[in-house]
Every structure is written in structure tokens, then in C-alpha cells.
Amino acid sequence: MPANLQSTFDVAQFEALLASRNEPEWLTSRRREAWQAFETAEQPDWRRTNLKGFNIADYTLAEAEVSVEFAGAEGVTILPLAEAIQSHAELVQRVLGSAVQTSRDPYSALNNALVNGGLFIHVAKDVAVEELVRIRYHVAKAGTIVAPRTLIVTERHSSINVIEEISSADFDASAVVLTGVEIEVGDGGQVNFSSVQTLNNNVYVLGSQQIRINRDAQAEWLNVVVGSAVQHVTLEANLSGNGSSVNWNGLLYGNGKQNLLVAPKLNHIGLNTEGQINFKTVVDDEAYAVFDGMVKIPATGQGTNSDLRENALHLSKTSRSDSIPGLEIDANEVKAGHGSTSGQIDEEQLFYLQSRGLPFAEAKRTIVLGFVGEIIDMIPDEAVRERVETIVAEKV
């Protein structure tokens, strides 16, 4: 039953946020617009995201703890978003809101009204950054709502690797993260972006990520989701430039009562673009995971080469996963493949490992860890990878 969201979140908190920031007029008016959209909206009609019992009025606005590890390099600017709003106004104005769109749904609107932290990364042209930029947003306290946003803009022929982890302390009550990642890859450049979500199992995550990839540019994109109570995150790769490409991998691992959704959308807008999606899903106990995918090849996308793979593994009778691999093609000279599988652990694999002496439980564990390991091994930061491995090891 959709309920009106009006005044479910304390307007005083919103006004206090505005008052505390000396922001340019364009941003203030965007925030007010977004607030208005949120306030007048109804609860979204999400069939695959369980918001029962979720009431945004229960949370107090706070900032996520932000940490950045990066030695620094010539031509690379990393700033708190609040500073970049002043110093890089034009870029921020262009990119902010590209993923998190006020019109998308009420929580995207709220996200744009409340965005109150995050980072801006800029790479000057012709700069190739070797060192991994490590970002972490940490939710310290239950009962809070945080809205950090990551903006990355690279100029032409430059490259950078960034990992962003969203984590939390181990509290028992819930909290809310409104996430947003907005990336623009300059002509001929490359961005490798890994997003890893390791929140505790009481947190709600709502948000969007988008990478716009310009002419002859490339992106490596990784989305690993092992935490939270409920996640609803839309993902969008826009292959806007001719000859652009994305290699996109992901993992959802849900157990207990987790309800994890990603909605990856791959838009082949330019000529001769290439995109590969490879996501894996594991569900156990009563978890419910959703891969709501879409590959779009508009009439402009001649010469597209696209491939979408999604494999789901069910470890319990009561777990569920939905895979919706959509495909919309309006160009005629394209290659587009997709395949998805879903099933239980393969009996032949189990028997094979058992026949070598592994007890049933260990054989099962080995197969599951192998299945997810292919994706987890892609996490470029060892500490984050180990955290994910620990979480997964506890789940299996």
C-alpha cells in the first residue's frame, strides 16, 4: 500500500543541513527541488525490494566517516565534495546528479536533497596513476542516515584505479546509506572502479552508480555486495563515446534475511562499443537477491559487441533469486549474447570432491568459495579483499 512520504523525514534536519553549508545557489535550489520531489512522492512500488518496516522518519542525518588512502600524484586532485563544490564548481555541477537522479524514485530525490559528504577525484589529461586510491565510507552509529557521494572525472588520456568500500560498525539496530557514484571517463582514458559493500546486516542501502565512458575510453567496473539488510542500487554504464568499452563484474552474496538488489544497465550509445557483464549471485537461508539487468543498444549503437552473463547459486530451499536479463536492440549490426543460469550446487562436483576425501560440508564450501572466488579475486585491495573473504567464509 503506497503511503505518501510527506513529512516522514524531519524537514528541520533538511533545513539545518542547508543552513550549515554555504553552498552556491544552483546547489541549494537543486536540493530544494529534490526535497520537494521526495516530500510529495509516494512510497516506491518496488516489488523486489522489501521496505516493510522501513521508516525513514526513524533516522537522524549524520556524516559517514570518510577515509582516503593515497600518496598523491602530480595531476590528481582528491577533495572532500564540499570543497570541490567551491573549487571545481563547473565539473561538479555537470556530474553531480548523473547517477542519482531526482526523478528516478523518492529515495534518489532524498539522496540529492541530503548528500552531505563524499569525495571528488579529478585526474588531469595525460596522467596515468598507478597507485590505487582507497576510499572508505564508514557508518559508525545505528539510527543514522548518511549520504556520501563519490565523483570521479578524468580528462582525456588519463587513467586511475579507485576502490570504494562502504562499511559499518557492528551495531544491532538499523541505519541508512544513501549512496551515489558518478564517474566520467575522458576520451582515450581508463577508470577502474571497484565498489565493495560490507555493511552489517541491519543497514539499508539505497542509491545509484553511473559511469559515463567517452570516446575510446575504457572502464573496469566491479560491484561486490555482501552486506546490508536491504540493498536497492541501480547501476548504469553509458558507453557514450565511439569505441568505448566496459568490463563489468559483480557478486551478490546474501544469507539470513538479506534482500540484495542490483539493477545494472548497459547502454551502448556510441559506435563500435564493447561491454561485458559477468555477475554472480549466491543466496542461502531465506535471502533474496535480484539481478535486474538491461542491455540497451539504440539505433546509434552500430557495431556493438555486448555480452551479459549471470549465474546464481542457491544454497537453501528457502532462498530466492531473480534474474531479469533484459535486452533491447534497435541497431542491426550488433553482436549481443546473454546467458543466465541458476541452480543448486552441482551434484557431480560435490561427488568429485568428496571422492577425494573432502567431507560433504567442506566439499560444498570449496565449490561455493570457488564460485565466488573468481569475482572476489578481482578486488584490488588486499585488506578489503580479506574483509570480504572473512564475511563470505562466515556465510558459507
Binding site: D346, E347, E348, Q349, F351, Y352, L353, Q354, S355, R356, G357, L358, P359, F360, E362, A363, T366, I367, L369, G370, F371, V372, G373, E374
Partner: protein, 263 residues
């Protein structure tokens, strides 16, 4: 009779309700090499899988004893720990699990003892590296093999070689080799056969059951006994000379003798 013989008595096995093995009597003797030959679909793999404990094969009658244990009562992993090994006709690929990690897990499972911290029985890493390296050298396998995922993208011959590597690592006392020779070129066949013979030389009590269609393998792994399986039953038994006879004459003459007419 030695308890270290594997004794199969009147074994009946059904798959999906259809009887495939119809009363097998066979003793694999300690330290001996037995060959089983028989036409396609006669039940050779069914026998192999049943001995290893594949859940799809339902034993409807009969018994299997080894080292004083009722084998059919044991889980597949416990059969492995008891010393039984099956080299699969069709080895299974497992993505994301490297050969090296898997073999270490398998070795450690064999070394584990009930009620003892598995860490204390686990093979030390340095020792493990030495063992796997020497075994891979013996089978002329390139080192990067160990880092590959289990059978994932392996050629037919590579898969068979990996089966024998596993056997060499686990040092079973009964090894069932289900068409290990198929898919191997002549050179690989020699290497694999020599590998088996070396394992056997190190462990003379090893009993081997070789399932094959070809005399070729038996030139390298010399059987003490040859059994012919047809229609779910062992219809002939003899010495190594029988393999030659079968190669020459095919199965029809036996079929005629046993079942009366060539079908």
C-alpha cells in the same frame, strides 16, 4: 583371504530404477592388477561409481567389503580415507578451485583425525610444495598446472593426467582407473602408465582395477587378471592373454557363448 582384498559379492545396482549391474562377484586382490573389459554400456563405470559411492547409483542387493569395513555403508569421503581411489572416466571441472589448493585440502582431509585439531595434522606448506612438485615432475606436468582451476578448460589428456596426479598424491591402496587411457596420445599414455607403475612400486600392496577398451594400456600396466563385463555381469575371467584374445576377436564370440546369439 586377506582383509586387504576388496570383495564384491552379488552386487546389483540400479540407476533411475533401471537395473544395470546384475550380480557382480569380484575380488580385487591386494597388490594385484585387475583389468575389466567390456562393451560400451555394459556397466563398467556403473561399477566404478558404485564403489566410490556416487549417490545416483542405488545398490539393490549385495555387499562390498574392504579392510573389514562394509564399504557400502561409508560416505564417499570415508571410502577415500579408507584407501579407495577412482580415476574418473569424465573428470569434473570446478571453477575457482585451483589444483594446488584442492589437492592440499584433499591431503589434509586424509590426514585429519577425529577429535584432533586439523591444524595440527595438516601438511606443512613447505612439505606440500615439495611433494606436489615431485609428483608433477614424475607425470611431466608443467608447474602452472597447479595454479589452474580444477579441470576447467583442460584438454582430455590433461584431465586424465590430473586424475593420476591426484592418485599419486593420495596414495590409495585400491585404485580404480576408469578409461584413464582414453584421450591420451601415445606419449602421454606411457607417462601416465609409468606414473601408475611408480606409485605401485612405492606401495606394492596397491590393488588396481583398470577399466579399458584397449590392450594398448595393458602393455604398460600388466594385469594379473582380466575380467569381462557384459550386460551387468562378469561373464569371463582369465589371465593377461585374454585381453589379446578380446582385442583380436571382439566381444561377439563371448556374447554368443554366454547369451546364445549375437545381439
Amino acid at each position: 583371504m586377506s582383509a586387504n582384498n576388496l570383495v564384491i559379492r552379488n552386487l546389483h545396482v540400479a540407476v533411475d530404477g533401471k537395473e544395470i549391474l546384475k550380480g557382480i562377484n569380484l575380488t580385487i586382490e591386494e597388490g594385484k592388477i585387475h583389468a575389466i573389459m567390456g562393451p560400451n554400456g555394459s556397466g563398467k563405470s556403473t561399477l566404478a561409481y558404485t564403489l566410490a559411492g556416487h549417490p545416483r547409483y542405488e545398490v539393490t542387493e549385495g555387499e562390498v567389503w574392504y579392510k573389514g569395513q562394509d564399504v557400502l555403508d561409508l560416505e564417499p569421503n570415508d571410502r577415500s580415507k579408507l584407501g579407495l581411489f577412482l580415476a574418473f572416466q569424465y573428470p569434473v571441472a570446478v571453477a575457482g578451485v585451483t589444483v594446488a589448493n584442492f589437492l592440499r585440502a584433499a591431503l589434509n582431509a586424509h590426514r585429519a583425525q577425529e577429535g584432533v585439531d586439523p591444524k595440527s595434522t595438516a601438511i606443512p606448506m613447505a612439505e606440500y610444495r615439495k611433494v606436489i612438485k615431485s609428483r608433477m615432475d614424475m607425470l611431466e606436468m608443467a608447474p602452472d598446472f597447479a595454479r589452474r582451476y580444477l579441470n576447467e578448460g583442460f584438454s582430455g589428456g590433461e584431465k586424465k593426467r590430473l586424475e593420476i596426479l591426484q592418485m599419486a598424491m593420495l596414495q590409495p591402496s585400491i585404485s580404480i582407473m576408469d578409461e584413464t587411457d582414453s584421450g591420451l596420445d601415445i606419449d602421454a599414455l606411457k607417462i601416465v602408465a609409468e606414473g601408475v607403475n611408480k606409485v605401485k612400486a612405492e606401495k606394492p600392496e596397491l590393488g588396481v582395477l583398470v577399466i579399458t577398451h584397449y590392450q594398448r594400456l595393458l602393455n604398460y600396466i600388466k594385469p594379473d587378471y582380466v575380467h569381462v563385463l557384459m550386460n551387468g555381469q562378469i561373464v569371463r575371467e582369465g589371465g593377461p592373454e585374454m585381453a589379446l584374445e578380446l582385442e583380436e576377436k571382439g566381444y561377439d564370440f563371448i556374447r554368443e557363448e554366454v547369451f546364445g546369439n549375437a545381439s
